[in-house]
């Protein structure tokens, strides 16, 4: 097992390197570079070339990449071109907000998806199944930003109340701090819960047709035991795979939800950085997100062995 994880880590390195190059070079292709933008805003009075040299943007791109990678490995992500503050400092402040939102969304989506998926599978082709499946397709079809918009607008019209869009720190009001995450996390979780539910149902249906499940029934095991102990454990393997994908989707979704609900997390930071062409910030966030996703996929693979004793590495 340990050997397998190590091997997977080694395989992940080239992917991470390629990803890091994409991360590095993409923002540099942005039209209208930051130097011009800064001069236009009169943030700097000096001439263009001077500023370019100062920011290190005048050297060939591969040298910039090499230096950047060297610094990244040592934990330096550079500093924001605008605020001059270290990116890593800003990220450590904002990461917890996005992580809280993401994990809460994931928790919502799993706790909605698994029970409904199981129910739909064991009551296949009944009314409950049809309702669950239609709801799932609906969940995949409704854009999250629309639901979020309605969640802000509708209560305001009907009851004159709207969810908080001012961020409250944990230290000022712990209760309000937690509450403000609930609604965005719930809406963010809906889409991925639909995907997970569909897969849980499909995977469980396939497993329920296996011989060992018939054996379990034949030896007189209770329904609860057959479903939860014998079938579900094997059905969860493809579900876990999709969970890895869903984590990436949820991380991407935080951009929109942090904007709508006024949460100062990474997604919003990225959105602002792209608009201001703040290279180090864009690179830092993208690199962090990619690393999280790669790490999650590794974790997903490691989970297989725990769930299915037949898989041995």
């Amino acid at each position: 097992m340990r050997k397998y994880v190590l091997r997977r880590l080694v395989v992940a390195i080239p992917s991470l390197l390629i990803a890091s190059f994409i991360v590095f070079s993409l923002p540099r292709l942005l039209p209208g570079d930051v130097v011009q933008l800064m001069l236009e805003e009169r943030a700097y009075g000096k001439d263009l070339e001077d500023l370019r040299a100062k920011l290190g943007l005048d050297r060939p791109i591969y040298i910039q990449y090499g230096e950047w990678l060297g610094r990244v490995v040592r934990g330096h992500l550079g500093e924001s071109l605008w605020t001059k503050r270290p990116v890593i400092e800003e990220l450590t402040r904002r990461l917890p907000v996005s992580l809280k939102l993401g994990f809460l969304a994931l928790a919502f989506s799993i706790s909605i998806a698994l029970p409904i998926g199981i129910l739909a599978a064991i009551r296949q082709d009944t009314l409950a199944d049809y309702i669950a499946r239609s709801l799932a397709i609906l969940g995949l079809s409704i854009p999250g930003f629309w639901l979020a918009t309605l969640a802000v607008v509708v209560p305001a019209i009907w009851w004159g109340w709207s969810p908080p869009i001012q961020f409250t720190e944990f230290s000022t009001d712990p209760w309000a701090h937690v509450l403000q995450f609930l609604l965005p996390a719930f809406i963010l979780g809906i889409a991925s819960s639909a995907a997970i539910m569909r897969l849980t149902r499909a995977a469980l249906l396939e497993v329920l047709r296996q011989d060992y499940v018939r054996t379990a029934w034949a030896k007189g095991a209770r329904e609860r035991s057959v479903i939860l102990k014998h079938a579900l454990k094997n059905a969860l393997i493809p579900v876990i795979t999709v969970l890895g994908i869903q984590i990436a989707q949820i991380l991407g979704g935080t951009v929109i939800f942090e904007l709508i609900f006024g949460l100062p997390g990474m997604g919003r930071f990225l959105f602002d950085a792209i608009n201001q062409r703040d290279y180090p910030v864009i690179q830092g966030i993208n690199l962090l997100i990619v690393s999280v996703v790669v790490l999650m996929n590794l974790l997903v693979d490691a989970c297989y062995a725990v769930l299915d004793p037949r898989i041995r590495y």
């Binding site: 991470l16 942005l30 959105f271």
Partner: protein, 308 residues
């Protein structure tokens, strides 16, 4: 060898039998509707959407950017079916014209994604070896970005615009499509006819185009139908963030964002109808995609539905 020849003969007999079995067009559609009523409903929604996009100038009551004097934020009525927005423009006309953006982006992105994905997937699966490993590492890297993050970065490079949205979404979708098509290619390669094609001296290109491609077409069609909804949803999110089709051209996503947002409290219909249009459209494509997949390639169950 004799075994192979016999197997080939049997396969060709089976194919012929199947061809005779195959129903003529209208009957096939009728059978599909009977077997998959929800899929048929989805198909109907899609047909209505395409008609709406094609016939927009005749269906819409006003031009999409026409400001009507004295008609700011009017609620839905006989004259303005979906009300008017904060600039006095007819919402119904804007929603109708918005279908054009969705249809263009959906079909355009699917076309690019599947052409790129098919080329990459088939060559990667067919040649295997070092080429496959290298290509798959790049696909891995590409796939480890959440889609919204990559697309925001790409759109920032390309700048807003309809063509750019199509390009960016197509390139992103290609990675996913290529993975699935590579898998199908590898399983198609196991077939005897690929081996016999190689034995009689067919070139790589001929084997890929004449022998493998027709056998992955089912997968491609399924990927395309499921992808359409996902691309339309992605376009709306992108327009919502201000990186999609620039105003005043109406895109459903963009109608839900920007300066209009502060008027939603007084004119909720401005928020309701564009979102309803997106949801219904994507719902239609997803229903149709599900049904098409069940008919053509049940192995893909659980795939797709949304870009990540």
């Amino acid at each position: 060898m004799a075994d192979h020849v016999e197997a080939l003969r049997a396969a060709s007999r089976r194919d012929e039998a199947r061809r005779e079995d195959a129903a003529p067009g209208s009957y096939a559609v009728w059978r599909f509707c009977r077997q998959k009523p929800l899929g048929a409903l989805g198909g109907l929604i899609v047909v209505v959407l395409v008609l709406m996009a094609a016939l927009a100038p005749w269906i819409a009551h006003y031009a999409y950017d026409e400001t009507l004097r004295g008609a700011r934020m009017k609620p839905p009525s006989g004259q303005f079916w979906m009300g008017t927005d904060n600039l006095g423009r007819d919402m119904w006309s804007r929603v109708v014209y918005g279908a054009r953006v969705s249809v263009t982006v959906g079909f355009g992105a699917v076309l690019i994604a599947n052409m790129l994905g098919t080329t990459i997937g088939i060559t990667s699966g067919y040649f295997g070896g070092k080429y496959d490993i290298c290509v798959q590492r790049v696909v891995d890297a590409w796939q480890s970005f959440p889609f919204l993050v990559v697309i925001l970065s790409i759109m920032a490079v390309l700048g807003p615009g309809l063509l750019n949205v199509v390009l960016a979404l197509g390139v992103i979708g290609a990675a996913n499509a290529s993975r699935v098509i590579r898998g199908t290619t590898i399983s198609v390669m196991e077939n005897v006819y690929v081996e016999s094609a190689r034995a009689i001296g067919c070139g790589h290109l001929r084997i890929m185009v004449r022998h493998i491609l027709p056998n992955v077409v089912g997968t491609i069609i399924v990927l395309a139908t499921i992808g359409l909804g996902a691309f339309i949803l992605a376009e709306s999110a992108l327009s919502f963030l201000g990186f999609g089709v620039p105003p005043p051209y109406p895109s459903w996503g963009a109608m839900l964002s920007g300066a209009g947002r502060s008027f939603f409290y007084q004119a909720p219909w401005m928020a309701i109808y564009p979102g309803l249009a997106i949801s219904l459209t994507v719902f239609g494509f997803n229903m149709l995609g599900d049904a098409v997949r069940d008919v053509l390639d049940p192995r893909l169950r659980g795939a797709g539905g949304r870009l990540r």
